[in-house]
């Protein structure tokens, strides 16, 4: 892997405000972000968080209120979309209905005044890349959703952009197709080496496809990092909640440091690393993934915890544990919990290395 990282896109202190006065909406609040060349970078967040707005600012479909955007070290915010070497795959494809597939894909090449042979060569090349060569003469309305999506991809790739922007391109597809396309997109990015900026609200999609993820909420970046980092070490409760299943347990810090401990509201005393900045007696929130919790049948009758819910999901079971009126969720492989049932008294094994204090 190339050690020298080139900055493909630099987003500096970008703010976007819609409307004016009392009815104005701040879609993005001072966002800072760097995307490297050759990366599959994902903007992840719930609807309305600003991720699509950011994408549109990069594409040039909106004007920026404050801040700067650089593309390979050149400022682009004063350029209209047709002057930016960036291309977009739209959520609902936006294929030109009055042109056939070939013309749709060749559109950019024609606008760039490439010569006839070059247009033909490149258009066929890119149609072959997405396996749509035999559909050249058809019109978009004769294609299925998945086929339209490939054409949209080909159309955006044809002019060889430096960066490809994808606005939730898989959201209109059904599950099986979506899963297949995820693999294809990932391979495509690796093969072409183009920087992909991918927008989605589906955290599973983000985790499987991305080199790095930026989690966005309410116009602000919550965390940027590799999928594993974001999953294992979320910065705050929003990120923890948004990605995967999570337990957020309140408690009181008993002792801070490497061998810290805290008393949870569930009644359990657990060991975990607590930052020095946290004082003894301070209220904290502990973050533990359900799959990190182990349970055993209790030998004594005085256990705090019982099973309050049991859901079988095929290869695993979601077990809901009730302790001191608090709920703890555990996910366990099906073999481990074969003999367990609702109402059983339980001992919980909390993981020391996979529990951490988390900010709001």
């Amino acid at each position: 892997m190339n050690d020298k990282k080139i900055n493909a896109i630099e987003i500096k202190n970008v703010t976007k405000v819609y409307g004016a006065g009392n009815s104005s909406v701040k879609a993005l609040k001072g966002v800072d972000l760097t995307i490297y060349d050759n990366e599959f970078f994902t903007l992840l967040g719930p609807s309305g968080c600003g991720k699509t707005t950011l994408l549109r600012l990069i594409a040039g479909f909106e004007d920026i209120t404050e801040g700067n955007i650089k593309l390979f070290n050149e400022e682009i915010i004063s350029l209209p979309p047709n002057k930016r070497p960036v291309n977009t795959v739209f959520q609902h494809y936006a294929l030109f209905p009055h042109l056939n597939i070939y013309e749709n894909v060749a559109f950019a090449l024609r606008r760039l005044n490439k010569n006839k042979d070059e247009i033909e060569r490149r258009t066929n090349e890119v149609l072959k890349l997405v396996q749509m060569e035999s559909f050249s003469k058809r019109k978009p309305n004769q294609l299925s959703g998945g086929q339209q999506q490939r054409v949209a991809l080909a159309r955006a790739l044809a002019p060889e952009p430096k960066v490809l922007l994808l606005d939730e391109p898989l959201s209109s597809l059904d599950l099986k197709l979506r899963q297949a396309m995820r693999v294809e997109l990932k391979n495509l990015q690796r093969d072409t080496g183009i920087t992909f900026v991918f927008v989605t609200h589906d955290q599973e999609e983000a985790l499987t496809m991305s080199d790095r993820i930026a989690v966005i909420s309410n116009g602000e970046i919550q965390q940027i990092g590799k999928p594993e980092d974001i999953y294992e070490n979320p910065n705050n409760q929003f990120v923890a909640n948004f990605i995967g299943e999570v337990n957020l347990l309140s408690g009181i810090c008993l002792k801070n440091g490497e061998n810290g401990s805290c008393k949870l509201d569930t009644g359990h005393e657990i060991y975990l690393v607590i930052p020095q900045s946290v004082e003894e007696g301070e209220a904290i929130t502990v973050f533990i993934r359900p799959e990190r919790i182990t349970i055993n049948k209790s030998l004594s009758e005085k256990s705090l915890t019982s099973i309050s819910g049991f859901t079988y999901v095929g290869n695993a079971a979601h077990v809901e544990l009730l302790s001191n009126n608090q709920i703890i969720n555990a996910t366990l492989p099906i073999d481990r919990v074969k003999d367990f049932k609702k109402g059983d008294l339980i001992e919980i094994e909390f993981p020391k290395d996979h529990a951490q204090v988390i900010n709001k």
């Binding site: 040039g60 479909f61 979309p81 047709n82 739209f90 609902h92 936006a94 030109f96 559109f107």
Partner: protein
């Protein structure tokens, strides 16, 4: 008849008895006068309302009637000038009002476009007459063209607005994204997709202009008679079979244009 012999016809809850028959009467009321008019135009007799036999003679007589031919010609000149003017203004207005986002004068502009539809035609006619008289605008057919250009605008506007609203705004963005500049995107994407709407708008404006009577009556000076105004003067003198014939022709023309418009839109919607 025993109960089990009677075939009980199933009726949906929302299917009310008698409404079908009423609707047939409704369409009868709507179309029988038209049919009467057209059939009487083939009346061989001299008295328009007394049927004597079948004949084409009034139609042939029409084509040698100088006045009618002049009036028809005038009607066509007016419609062929006013309809394009109205359509162009309507197209620009639609582009601004549908794609322009929200702006302060938007509601006012929307109101302006519907104004000719809200004001009773007689009021518009009279006001325009007074206006032209005061400004000394007395150029015969041009007066009529000016007046028509104005009130045909809302009719041209409606189909164009509908077509523009049905168009995905992302299409224009996609064109810009793919290195089209503004005018190129308009030319290659917006305009081709809008053209059926523009044609529909033109057809509506054309029909409205051809059919207009009250405004033309008040605003036209001498020598600027259009077909509806001429028909009116003929009716005032007494109903003659010629009037029947020329009226039937006008009716059929309008019906043809509207049917064409309908088919054009059906093809695009499917």
């Amino acid at each position: 008849m025993k109960l089990k012999d009677k075939k009980l016809k199933f009726r949906h809850v929302w299917n009310f008895p008698g409404f079908g028959g009423w609707t047939a009467i409704f369409f009868g009321f709507l179309y029988i006068p038209i049919l009467v008019l057209i059939s009487y135009s083939f009346n061989a007799g001299k008295f328009a309302m007394i049927w004597t036999g079948f004949s084409f003679r009034w139609y042939t007589k029409l084509f040698s009637n100088e006045n009618i031919l002049d009036a028809t010609f005038n009607s066509l000149i007016v419609a062929c000038t006013a309809a394009p003017i109205a359509t162009i203004i309507a197209t620009f207005s639609a582009l601004a009002l549908v794609r322009g986002g929200n702006f302060k004068t938007k509601e006012f502009s929307n109101g302006l476009i519907t104004l000719p539809l809200m004001v009773p035609e007689i009021v518009t006619a009279v006001a325009t007459l007074i206006f032209f008289a005061f400004l000394g605008i007395n150029f015969g057919l041009i007066n009529v063209i000016l007046a028509h250009s104005v009130f045909c605008i809302p009719f041209a506007y409606m189909p164009i607005k509908a077509a523009l609203e049905a168009m995905d705004p992302n299409l224009e963005l996609a064109a810009r994204d793919l290195y089209s500049n503004k005018s190129s995107a308009f030319r290659t994407i917006t305009l081709p997709l809008l053209t059926p709407g523009i044609i529909s708008g033109f057809m509506l404006a054309f029909v409205i202009s051809i059919d207009d009577f009250i405004i033309t009556l008040m605003v036209a000076g001498g020598g600027a008679t259009t077909l509806p105004v001429y028909i009116y003067s003929m009716v005032k003198m007494g109903v003659t079979p010629e009037v029947n014939a020329v009226s039937s022709l006008m009716l059929c023309f309008s019906i043809l244009v509207v049917t064409g418009y309908w088919f054009l839109n059906r093809k695009n919607n499917n």
